[in-house]
């Protein structure tokens, strides 16, 4: 079997005395799409934020694309150019246009030539379906459009892995699909993805595996069909009944 794209080995994470990740052992294969779900506060965000080292862990090891993220000398810039992240609240830079948001990292981190960067950025806006919004500031874009720009911004560094933390939770219902479609396309193109979401339709269609967390523990890991049809744990059953009832 190929080397995993992401591997958690006995990872423990504390916020002060709060134990938020407990002995996490998890691997994600290249090209795999993993959906992480679970009740609020179960540690889903913290889990994926460890992958690009936005959070540091207290014990255990995380290996991303063959390199340890948790060792003292880890090259975080290199790591973050290979791992894109999309946040619930979009987090576009408000003083830059859509195009400038997308161009920033390739210009400043990769130091590529401006003309080339702009060409790529425009192509990415095309890919996420809003080529005409290049010169809009974030304030003048809808939530769905902002999130698509945020995805384009993450893709601009040509990452090998994409992390999504509830990318559609802040969106009005009519905008959720436009974002999920972009994500579905990405998955189809073979992107390795870890997605925290409660969009169970998306999980069913796109995920290869569902990871269910509760209280900082990975309670259950299963293929979507198995997970939705017959969750093995009580907690997953309770969670699903709540989430699927509306």
């Amino acid at each position: 079997m190929a080397e995993p794209a992401i591997a958690f080995r006995l990872v423990n994470k504390f916020f002060g005395r709060l134990h938020v990740l407990k002995d996490i052992d998890l691997t994600v294969a290249p090209g795999e799409v993993v959906v992480v779900c679970g009740p609020s506060g179960s540690g889903k965000s913290t889990l994926i934020r460890c992958v690009n080292a936005l959070e540091r862990v207290q014990s255990g090891e995380i290996v991303v694309l063959g390199e340890s993220v948790t060792s003292a000398g880890a090259n975080l810039t290199r790591l973050r150019t290979q791992v894109g992240m999309v946040f619930q609240s979009f987090n576009l830079f408000p003083h830059m246009t859509a195009l400038q948001n997308i161009m920033l990292a390739p210009l400043k981190v990769r130091r590529l030539a401006r003309a080339e960067v702009e060409k790529t950025a425009r192509a990415l806006l095309e890919r996420v379906g809003i080529p005409d919004k290049a010169d809009n500031y974030p304030a003048n874009l809808s939530g769905g459009q902002q999130q698509r720009v945020a995805i384009a911004r993450a893709l601009a560094m040509h990452p090998k892995i994409m992390l999504f933390d509830e990318p559609t939770s802040a969106l009005d219902p009519e905008m959720i699909n436009e974002v999920l479609e972009v994500m579905t396309d990405l998955a189809r193109d073979g992107m390795t993805m870890m997605v925290v979401t409660h969009e169970m339709g998306f999980a069913r269609r796109v995920a290869r595996r569902i990871v269910f967390m509760d209280g900082g523990v990975v309670v259950e890991e299963a293929a979507p069909e198995a997970f939705f049809a017959s969750p093995t744990s009580d907690r997953a059953r309770q969670f699903l009944s709540k989430i699927l009832s509306h």
Partner: protein, 239 residues
Amino acid sequence: MRYEFNWSVLWSGQSGSWLLQGLLTTLEISALAWLLAAALGILSGALRTVPWPPLRAAAAFYVEFFRNVPLLVWMFFWYFGVPPLLPGAVQDWLFNHGAEFWAGMFALGVYHGARMSEVIRSGIQSIPRTQFEASQAIGLSVWQAYRLVILPIAIRLIVPPATNESLNLLKNSSVALTISVAELTFQTRQIETYTARAIEALTAGTLIYLVLCVSIAAVMTRLERRFAIPGLIARVGAG
């Protein structure tokens, strides 16, 4: 007994040129001190929010130390206390090139830098932490995140309080008369001494300060509009 106004004292004799000299000195010392204060304020204000405790502590020390001692004391400190500590050649240069001006400039700049620092810090802290995280997530270093994202947003947000602080600096430049910098207030007092026309001299000084402050405020308001972040100002205004 009625006071007889005699406004002509302001343009007869040397008064006019004294006022002009005073105005120019006030502008010069304030502009240089403002640049120093802005640089120190941005640097220390930003350092107070970085993820490294020793740098945060150093910046906090600077701010608390300098803004909690009266400006007048700093004037004396920089004028009487600092030059003897400098190498002889520098001392000689200073005393041939208006030591009091440079001492006053440093006193004003370093003191107001500490106050500007608080303005910058509160601006940075009003930016959601997620902006910093998004910068990190696309691979920017901490330095790049501050230079390209955090500070450009913070500086646009703090134009109103920074304007206020800049006007305080301009007005406080008058304290430099205590170490005999021949700035505007110094010159109005000189006119008063020579002509015994206190009200006329003070009126002239007051009007000049007023015009300066109003013009600076007007320019800053225009800058604020010019560089406003779409969406942000509207929200501040609505809130």
